[in-house]
């Protein structure tokens, strides 16, 4: 899919102007190795005003809505961000469209 397809999905999801550096940092984290939100948060916290794991969860959800990340499985967590009382949360990897977005954001 092309950049124009991506833009169309972003518009459809009413996320125009809302995809930025936070999403770029997340995509970079899942571009080589599958990671869970907790692992991503541990790396990006304190950068670009990201100060809570809930912000990372929200940004990942936005990336899912525009098909830029996919769920690959689940791993143990101490964060409980998947489900309270649950000890696991999903892992994510970048999609083909996600790579298009990442390249675009890096520009």
């Amino acid at each position: 899919m092309s950049k124009s397809d991506l833009d169309a999905i972003i518009r459809k999801e009413k996320l125009d102007g809302l995809i930025g550096k936070t999403h770029m940092m997340i995509l970079e984290q899942v571009s080589q190795v599958d990671k869970q939100p907790q692992e991503i948060f541990d790396i990006v916290k304190g950068k670009h005003e990201v100060s809570s794991f809930t912000q990372v969860l929200r940004a990942i959800d936005q990336l899912k809505r525009i098909s830029c990340v996919t769920v690959t499985g689940e791993k143990t967590t101490t964060l409980g961000s998947s489900d309270f009382g649950s000890k696991t949360e999903p892992t994510y990897k970048i999609s083909e469209l996600g790579r298009t977005l990442l390249n675009d954001l890096k520009k």
């Binding site: 936070t22 100060s51 809930t54 912000q55 929200r58 409980g80 309270f84 009382g85």
Partner: protein, 638 residues
């Protein structure tokens, strides 16, 4: 003009004279203040003079609904109770869910204003147009649950919705609230005590008239569309909150290093896992309930089936009970926290004000300020579970000299005790705050400070500080940096904006949780819903201006009572003490940074930076010339 949404009537009940009258709801109030909180605030400003005794007959107790109350609009069963507060001696209100608000609208009233005080205990029975004050001497003294049953028997319908007070309200306890439908509390500001001072035990309502909606087909579509937006744009919260309700915040704030522990000394509790949603749902929760038209159904119904608390049940248990009666008092016994919450509902006590006052007493005791002699023999060592429950009971019944002390709430109790006890009272304008530490959520902390009804987590959408991405903050608040919960930039702007949105929510009379997760629910939904319900052409600008107007009326009320900039600060603890342990160790909220945020906020709010009083030009801009003239006369203009 045919009215849609609003019923168009104010019911006035003079309890001293035992008379009723109805008057038309002024049309300019509808478009400028929308409903509920907005209506009530203006009525209070106009009718309750500065210096009025909050527990005297000249105070008024106002119940208000919004234009969407009683419709299919999500979370539309809510109402606001307003009076001069005995807790803050200033503006006071409280808001509750359930179905009672809908019943009042269906009976044909937007607002009830109670005036004077009854000679003997009474309850009000509204059966559409039939209004009656009935004798309540036989139920005076009962807890709120039994009160509900007795009132239902009295009116001959066990499904009737009953708002009322328990023993705490009857005894004028400053931490008391107005309950409805067993477990839904209009909790803040001691509204239960105001009701008790009027010897009004309960209000039972049956409404059968419905609410006229201008464009029902359009409304259906809007409601469905925005429920889907909520589920999609705030998926994680929607899924978890629907499953667990607010008790999940024990786990969440522990993880975020924000869980008030041992009277706000710390932000991380070593036994949090014992009182989190895992054990609560595994062993105790039996089912979930919802308020009227709510897509969340966040309210857990639980029972305790064995042990010394067997037979205890409650529903609507909140974080402020499971956390308030555990981490705040250093007691890792979940059953005690659950029983504490259930007792608060029965006795008609606010979880937050009650738990904070008890935590204050515990800290004073552990610091040697209170002794066993002061506590009538209770040992308030951190973690003493039996003492926690005994404090709740004695507070509700004002039992003994210690019960009398607790019943004052921690600010007034601190003043009475002296010896440094005031430092440990974690209050703003006399009201306890919430359950999120201000040192690790700077916008939230700031929102506590400037709230018009005193320390309060519900007066803004500060929660977006840790939910929204920096990109969302940039677009909607105009400051990417506002997304950093440990930062200081953009916080004044964020709170100004979200306070206006909250005032709007409270005046439409919708639950905060419905608006929580998506900025689109703030900027698109309210005016679309209002247009479909009322048939008028609402815009975002109109609704935002209403939010500003309501905030400024309340600030003007407080200015008239002598409250200003000096009252918009956090308790000293948060400026002086760093977070001592846990994941947010070392976090702070320096006073000079707070001052800068306050200046930024005042500028936007149209308030004088020196005094904290509203400025004339802002009042005039918002169409509040009458208030500007009144403040000018009293030399309270900024």
């Amino acid at each position: 003009m045919e009215l849609y949404g609003w019923a168009g009537k104010i019911l006035r009940v003079d309890l001293s004279k035992e008379t009723f009258k109805t008057q038309p709801l002024p049309t300019d109030m509808m478009t400028s203040l929308i409903g509920g909180r907005g209506f009530n605030s203006k009525i209070l400003y106009d009718e309750v003079a500065p210096g009025t005794d909050p527990l005297g007959p000249d105070n008024k107790l106002i119940f208000g609904t919004g234009p969407v109350t009683g419709t299919i609009v999500s979370t539309s069963g809510r109402f606001t109770v307003t009076a001069k507060s005995p807790t803050t001696d200033a503006f006071g209100d409280a808001n509750a869910g359930g179905h009672w608000g809908g019943e009042l609208k269906w009976a044909g009233y937007d607002v009830i204003v109670f005036e004077g005080a009854a000679k003997k205990p009474v309850f009000l029975w509204i059966d559409d147009d039939q209004i009656e004050l009935r004798n309540a001497e036989h139920i005076w003294g009962l807890d709120y649950f039994k009160t509900t049953e007795e009132v239902q028997k009295d009116v001959g319908d066990m499904d009737i919705s009953v708002a009322g007070i328990g023993p705490a309200g009857e005894r004028l306890v400053y931490t008391s609230c107005v309950m409805n439908e067993y477990t839904r509390a209009a909790a803040k500001c001691g509204m239960g005590a105001v009701m008790g001072s009027k010897r009004l035990k309960a209000i039972a309502v049956r409404g059968t008239k419905g609410v006229k909606v201008a464009k029902p087909g359009e409304l259906f579509k809007i409601v469905e569309e925005y429920i889907e937006i909520l589920k999609r744009e705030d998926r994680w919260f929607y899924e978890n909150f629907s499953k667990y309700g607010t008790p999940m915040f024990v786990d969440q704030y522990q993880q975020l290093g924000a869980l008030p522990t041992r009277n706000w000394r710390e932000t991380c509790y070593e036994e949090a896992e014992k009182v989190g949603v895992g054990p609560f749902y595994k062993k105790y929760v039996k089912k979930k309930r919802a308020c009227q038209s709510c897509p969340y159904h966040c309210s857990p119904y639980f029972t305790i089936d064995e042990g010394r608390f067997a037979g205890t049940w409650d529903d609507g248990t909140e974080y402020e009970a499971t956390g308030g009666f555990s981490s705040k008092v250093g007691c890792g016994d979940l059953e005690v926290a659950l029983v504490g919450g259930a007792w608060c509902d029965k006795f008609g006590l606010d979880y937050i004000n009650c738990a904070d006052t008890i935590a204050w007493a515990f800290e004073c005791y552990n610091e040697g300020i209170l002794t066993k002699e002061d506590t009538d023999g209770l040992d308030l060592k951190w973690g003493n579970a039996d003492a926690v429950l005994e404090c709740i009971r004695r507070m509700a019944y004002k039992e003994g000299k210690f019960g009398e002390l607790l019943a004052l709430g921690s600010r007034k109790a601190g003043r009475k005790v002296g010896k440094g006890a005031e430092y440990y009272s974690i209050t703003i304008k006399g009201q306890q705050m919430g359950m999120m530490d201000p040192r690790v959520f700077h916008a939230w902390g700031f929102a506590y400070g400037v709230s018009t009804r005193g320390g309060d987590h519900l007066r803004s959408h500060a929660v977006c500080e840790y939910m929204f991405t920096p990109e969302e903050m940039e677009k909607y608040v105009g400051s990417r940096k506002a997304a950093d919960r440990f930062g200081f930039e953009g916080k004044g702007k964020l709170i100004f904006w979200t306070e206006n949105i909250r005032a709007l929510n409270d005046s439409i009379e919708n639950c905060k949780y419905f608006f929580r997760g998506s900025p689109r629910l703030w900027t698109e939904y309210p005016h679309k819903v209002l247009s479909a319900v009322t048939g008028l052409d609402w815009t975002y600008e109109m609704t935002f201006a209403a939010g500003q107007r309501i905030n400024l009326i309340e600030r003007a009320y407080n200015a008239r009572e002598g409250l200003g900039r000096k009252d918009d600060y956090l308790p000293e603890r948060f400026y002086k003490e760093l977070v001592p342990t846990g994941p947010t160790k070392g976090a702070s909220f320096p006073r000079e940074q707070y001052d800068k945020i306050l200046d930024e906020y005042y500028e936007m709010r149209g308030v004088d930076k020196k005094t904290g009083y509203p400025k004339k030009e802002k009042l005039l801009e918002l169409g509040l010339a009458d208030i500007a003239a009144d403040l000018e006369k009293r030399r309270k203009l900024g």
